[in-house]
């Protein structure tokens, strides 16, 4: 068999890029089992104390709960607003639709720090710093573009003539929306809400500005723990989140494939 050099080079390149992409994530896992209180790589010793610390320390577990709650609320609010906006834009004709779409997408493009400063300034006056409402409002702002894009992409392939057909069969506009439009754009809505959840769950910049000692999200807790002392609990948190997201995405892929076969 002849040695295929170009093919070998291609495979090697792919392998290197793959390692480059996942290595930072994978390095966290051995570090989370470190025996000593240091974030050195390779870690020395072995222990489960950092996992224990995460689950028993109220600061850590508390911030996880805060993050999960905020992300859930953001997912709900951003999905509702974003979906309605996407439908409105799709139905609108002319350049106004394009302008509104651009405005809705800006939070994705504007640098996070700029937004954070603006939000912080407003929150100081309105006493929203360190409040649930503050977090949900700020994160929803950041999450809406993802919903608008995901639902918009789905609406672009949705056959609006089905709505006309539903009307001819006796369905009011509201019934048509819930029985025809919604089920058919549900994939877009679900992926939009997943994006919204994730956007909120790992948002750092804005959260750092509007945080308070009483109400901290997980990313803020990780950041402050890192700057205070090199606590390997951070690595344990990272590993857990990595595991959780891998499971969710894996299950999503499996069910997605089954759904397509059916």
């Amino acid at each position: 068999m002849k040695l295929n050099v170009p093919r070998l080079l291609l495979r090697l390149t792919c392998l290197l890029i793959a390692i480059w992409l996942v290595a930072p994530t994978l390095i966290v896992i051995p570090m989370s089992f470190a025996g000593q209180k240091s974030l050195a790589f390779p870690p020395k010793g072995f222990s489960l104390q950092w996992y224990e610390n995460f689950f028993t320390n109220p600061q850590w577990i508390g911030s996880l709960i805060v993050s999960a709650k905020v992300a859930l609320m953001v997912a709900v609010v951003a999905t509702i607003i974003g979906t309605m906006a996407a439908i409105g834009i799709e139905r609108m004709k002319g350049s106004a639709a394009g302008i509104i779409r651009a405005v809705l997408i800006t939070p994705m493009i504007v640098p996070g720090v700029v937004l954070a400063v603006g939000i912080y300034a407003v929150y100081l006056d309105t006493r929203l710093v360190g409040t649930w409402t503050g977090y949900v409002l700020a994160h929803t702002l950041l999450a809406i573009p993802f919903v608008v894009i995901a639902v918009g992409a789905n609406l672009a392939v949705f056959d609006a003539r089905l709505e006309t057909a539903a009307a001819s069969l006796g369905a009011s506009r509201l019934t048509t929306f819930f029985t025809i439009t919604l089920p058919l754009i549900l994939p877009g809505i679900l992926s939009g809400s997943l994006f919204a959840f994730v956007t909120s769950f790992d948002e750092v910049i804005v959260s750092l500005f509007i945080t308070s000692p009483q109400l901290k999200t997980l990313p803020v807790q990780i950041y402050s723990s890192m700057t205070r002392d090199a606590d390997p609990t951070v690595a344990a948190v990272g590993s857990l989140i990595f595991l959780a997201t891998s499971l969710i995405i894996g299950l999503g892929l499996i069910f997605g494939m089954r759904g397509r076969k059916a």
Partner: protein
């Protein structure tokens, strides 16, 4: 509300209806009555207003003026979902996330029909379109013809008194179209509903309809049975749109109550009179034109004769078609039974027809090109 009871078709009255899009007049003061239980086709080229009229009846577009009545009820401003009119679309418009049975049950659910009755009505409707074995399939698992059958079942399952069809067979191949045409006819007979069928295919309109309304440029040119439209077209547009025809253009002269047209040097008599001084034409159907050797025709006052040259000869099995060029450059199509010794291309011949077979029409500038 089941298909077992025969529906009474409702009359549709369209009174002075107009529809304007920007500065384009899609419909200009159109009036028409469709009789109860009638099968009426709207025939015309694209952009002629036939689909606009259908959409106005269905309630998909708003009226700019005039009135539409379904039976005794004025429906011009009733929202589409309250009109109780079945619609079949060219693109099927089946709901992809519902099975065949769920699609057909959808209109019954909207009308809050009890579950038992619903299932029975769905079965019956699917039987009518011969798809009872497919009720658990999804639209994506059906062929185009099957999908359109489902759409038909869905549009008639709630026994509407009026069924609208917007080029329902337009996306199907010719063979399947012919099969479904027969099915649609049968269903129309069995249902008793009024059918309004939009098509640009004159053959389809002739096969299906009790009457045909010919649309052109936002107006109705003529309404009548296929036979009436074919044998007594009132305008050149109708004459050319329905069936094959030849048009002779020339100058006309009216003496007393007889009009004659001079075409390519020959004087041709017609039955009937020109209604104005504007340009007129003679419309001839191919089967009414005889091709004969030069000099054999008799000028008996009942026959028109004009000489020409065979340009083309087509053998069609039972018949032959000649294209005969005239001295002025135009040509006439003649269809004759198959001859054992056909005329050769380039041979000078004579064309003859009974003068009552030539239809005198005002020249509205229509050309034979059928727009698809």
């Amino acid at each position: 509300m089941t298909l077992e009871t025969v529906t009474k078709g409702a009359a549709v009255d369209i009174c002075g209806v107009s529809k304007v899009y920007g500065n384009f007049t899609a419909l200009d003061n159109v009036s028409l009555r469709v009789e109860p239980g009638e099968f009426m086709s709207f025939l015309g080229p694209s952009g002629s207003g036939k689909t606009t009229t259908l959409n106005l009846i269905a309630g998909f577009t708003d009226l700019n003026g005039g009135e539409i009545r379904l039976g005794e009820r004025s429906i011009g401003h009733v929202p589409a979902h309250k009109r109780n009119i079945g619609v079949v679309f060219q693109h099927y418009a089946l709901f992809p996330h519902m099975s065949v049975a769920q699609n057909v049950a959808y209109p019954l659910k909207q009308r809050r029909v009890a579950k038992v009755d619903r299932a029975r009505a769905v079965d019956l409707a699917l039987q009518k379109v011969q798809l009872e074995k497919f009720s658990h399939r999804y639209p994506s698992e059906l062929s185009g013809g099957q999908q359109q059958r489902v759409a038909l079942a869905r549009a008639m399952v709630f026994t509407p008194s009026l069924l609208l069809m917007d080029e329902p067979l337009g996306a199907l191949d010719k063979k399947l179209r012919e099969v479904l045409q027969l099915e649609i006819r049968r269903i129309h007979r069995e249902l008793g509903s009024t059918f309004v069928y939009v098509t640009h295919d004159q053959e389809e309109a002739l096969v299906l309809s009790d009457r045909i309304a010919v649309f052109n440029k936002g107006r109705i040119e003529q309404v009548g049975s296929g036979h009436q439209l074919y044998t007594q077209p009132e305008t050149l547009f109708v004459g050319q749109f329905i069936g094959e025809s030849s048009v002779l253009r020339g100058t006309h002269r009216t003496q007393g109550n007889e009009t004659a047209l001079t075409v390519a040097g020959a004087t041709l008599a017609v039955s009937g009179q020109a209604k104005s001084d504007a340009a007129h034409v003679i419309l001839l159907r191919p089967e009414n034109v005889r091709v004969q050797p030069k000099g054999t025709g008799r000028h008996d006052g009942m026959t028109n004769i004009i000489s020409g040259t065979v340009r083309e000869m087509l053998y069609l099995g039972a018949a032959m078609k000649y294209e005969v060029g005239l001295a002025d450059g135009s040509h006439v199509i003649a269809r004759t039974p198959t001859q054992t010794e056909p005329f050769a291309i380039g041979q000078p011949v004579e064309l003859a027809w009974n003068l009552k077979d030539g239809t005198l029409l005002a020249d509205d500038g229509s050309t034979a090109g059928h727009e698809a």
